[in-house]
């Protein structure tokens, strides 16, 4: 069945094999102006998805359509090579050409599409100005900071005015101290791009904060999709639950201590001061009947607000002083005789708490 061109956005419903035992199946539609995140662990097939949509791999069945143009349709014998697709890709690690200067990198797409050298360099320079990169035109990519490289990669992808913006792990190459700030810069530029946007990531924070819609990819198959809230409230697989339940806390850090609301949390990271975003995976939180012995320095007594049975695991929402979501094995759950309304001791190792500097926000998202 060949569907006709639909709308202005991306329509991708396809499958392909990699190697002997890996198979990717994807079904997503993104309207212009919307951001979808494809979230999954390593080896889930995210890179394969990028390669297929960009045309670097040929799909085996299905159809990929973009802005009314069919990019792939093996049944109809259609395959558009990557250079003929209007897909702007910000690659993982950015892949800026090391032998070309910043402005030549940005002009590359225009030159390849036949624009004259002077015109393309002028247009590239405009984009560098737009992305706050003035003064770096002649620099080689090896001498850029992570944030600068990210924006150059973004400029290089956007300068050709693509119909789709594809971002593959746009923040993973950055160090933790700049990630928060650059995510917001990225968020702003995504807003400026009128077409559909697809963000590929393994980082739930990135997915939940950047995307309007999240698709969870596990072992080549989308196991769940929905708005970030839908995923977080009703995760359907243990991976989704692990990610979705992630506790995101905004606070202010100083000397290894973060103030969240009126509660202090000990951090392993002592060098970050100021506003921070803390992430705590539910499985990193342990529950105890009595005050636990040993090293955990983050430990307090709280109440059990809600218990959700996920099959092999049990999710527990705790109450004041700091509402959190914990997850324990079903076995531990029955040993502890958990029940809603009861008091329980909670412990988190400082090393299990993710910390990212954050500025401008203070309320928890």
């Amino acid at each position: 069945m060949v569907e006709g061109p639909v709308g202005e956005g991306l329509e991708a419903r396809f499958g392909l094999h990699r190697g002997d035992d890996f198979r990717l199946e994807l079904d997503l539609a993104i309207s212009p102006g919307r951001t979808v995140a494809l979230l999954g662990p390593n080896g889930a097939g995210k890179s394969t998805a990028v390669a297929a949509i960009a045309g670097l791999l040929q799909v085996e069945w299905g159809r990929i359509g973009l802005a009314g143009i069919t990019l792939d349709d093996p049944d109809a014998g259609i395959y558009l090579p990557p250079e003929s697709r209007k897909v702007g890709v910000v690659f993982q690690d950015y892949l800026l050409f090391p032998h070309l200067s910043v402005v030549e990198n940005v002009a590359f797409g225009l030159r390849s599409r036949g624009m004259s050298r002077s015109d393309s360099l002028a247009r590239a320079a405009d984009w560098l100005t737009r992305l706050d990169l003035t003064g770096l035109e002649k620099r080689k990519p090896g001498r850029l900071s992570g944030g600068q490289a990210q924006r150059v990669a973004l400029a290089r992808a956007l300068v050709t005015e693509p119909d789709l913006l594809l971002l593959d792990e746009p923040l993973s190459a950055l160090d933790v101290t700049t990630r928060g700030e650059l995510r917001r810069v990225l968020d702003r530029h995504l807003e400026d791009f009128p077409g559909p946007r697809l963000v590929i990531t393994h980082d739930p924070v990135e997915a939940f904060l950047l995307a309007d819609e999240v698709h969870i990819l596990e072992e080549g198959v989308v196991t769940q999709w929905g708005t970030p809230d839908e995923i977080r409230l009703r995760p359907r697989t243990s991976y989704a639950a692990d990610l979705a339940g992630s506790n995101l806390l905004f606070g202010r850090a100083s000397a290894g201590l973060a103030l969240v609301g009126s509660h202090h949390i000990h951090l392993a990271e002592h060098d970050i001061d100021g506003d921070v975003l803390l992430t705590i995976r539910p499985s990193a939180i342990s529950l105890h009947r009595r005050p636990p012995e040993g090293s955990p320095r983050n430990m307090w007594e709280t109440s059990i607000e809600l218990i959700e049975d996920l099959g092999e695991r049990t999710r527990v929402r705790t109450g004041a002083p700091l509402p959190l979501t914990a997850e324990v094995t079903a076995e531990a759950s029955s040993t502890l005789c958990l029940a809603e309304g009861e008091r329980i001791w909670l412990a988190i190792k400082a090393t299990e708490i993710g910390v990212e500097p954050e500025d401008g926000r203070s309320s928890s998202g």
Partner: protein, 274 residues
């Protein structure tokens, strides 16, 4: 305490910087292995007769022919060796390791064997040479083209293995990035792949050219030895050694000077590029 620890550390650093004597001695011997023969050669140079010897037809013909054939062989190696390296690095096909082995065979084979093999394949009575000769009248042995072919056969493996290695080490996601930016396959090759392996390509070219310039065994076996047509510098040196030692030494000196000059210039350029 603090300052004492600092002195100890500094002393340790200094000790690490002073290289072991044995290493220097061995390195000196290593250098002597290269240097002593050249000193021997230079000690035999007939300086007073040198200008006259260098102006002789024999020397000028051999120098000209060596330059032409070694550069032509390098050019041929680029035209067919780089694509071969690309195929070996990028395409999976049955028998690839066999092909790779064959390509590197001339590196270990005595060049005379290579010359004989060329003769059996492309000689006038050769497997391909005979039908080729009958169809086109083309005759490779005893011709300047034959010299270029022998040089290419012996020297091209240097280009193929350096370029193949570089292509393997090249992160080919860059090429994907280039094509997603609208570059066709040739543009990707020209503007991304080749520039990114540039230093290895230059290294391979230099090695190939140097090997071609020094080629002797395959050339004399396949292409013979005739002044002005097939007698390159190494052949001229070999023949002259038996008749006129002064000419032989003069020819050798020309080879040493030319090779050294080119290698030094290229190396200088190359370092600057990095």
């Amino acid at each position: 305490m603090g300052s004492r620890r600092l002195t100890i550390e500094r002393r340790a650093v200094e000790r690490a910087r002073r290289p072991p004597v044995l290493l220097i001695v061995l390195a000196g011997i290593g250098f002597a292995v290269f240097a002593v023969p050249f000193i021997g050669l230079i000690s035999r140079v007939p300086w007073t007769d040198l200008p006259e010897l260098l102006a002789s037809d024999l020397v000028i013909d051999a120098l000209r022919l060596s330059m032409v054939t070694s550069l032509a062989a390098t050019l041929v190696a680029v035209l067919i060796g780089v694509p071969l390296a690309w195929v070996l690095a990028r395409l999976e096909f049955p028998g690839r390791s066999l092909v790779r082995g064959l390509v590197t065979l001339p590196l270990v084979l005595p060049p005379v064997v290579g010359g004989a093999a060329l003769l059996f394949a492309l000689g006038r009575r050769g497997l391909i040479g005979e039908p080729l000769n009958q169809a086109t009248g083309l005759l490779l042995p005893f011709s300047t083209s034959g010299v270029v072919l022998a040089n290419t056969f012996v020297a091209m493996p240097f280009l193929v293995i350096t370029v193949e290695g570089a292509l393997r080490n090249l992160d080919h996601r860059y090429e994907g990035a280039a094509s997603s930016l609208g570059a066709g396959q040739w543009t990707v090759l020209r503007r991304v792949t080749l520039p990114m392996i540039g230093p290895s390509l230059v290294a391979g070219l230099v090695l190939t050219w140097a090997r071609a310039l020094g080629e002797f065994g395959a050339t004399i076996t396949f292409a013979g030895n005739l002044q002005g047509r097939t007698q390159t510098l190494p052949l001229a040196v070999f023949v002259a050694l038996e008749s006129d030692r002064d000419v032989a030494v003069a020819l050798s000196l020309v080879m040493v000077v030319v090779s050294l000059a080119v290698l030094l210039v290229l190396r200088e350029r190359w370092w600057k590029a990095l």
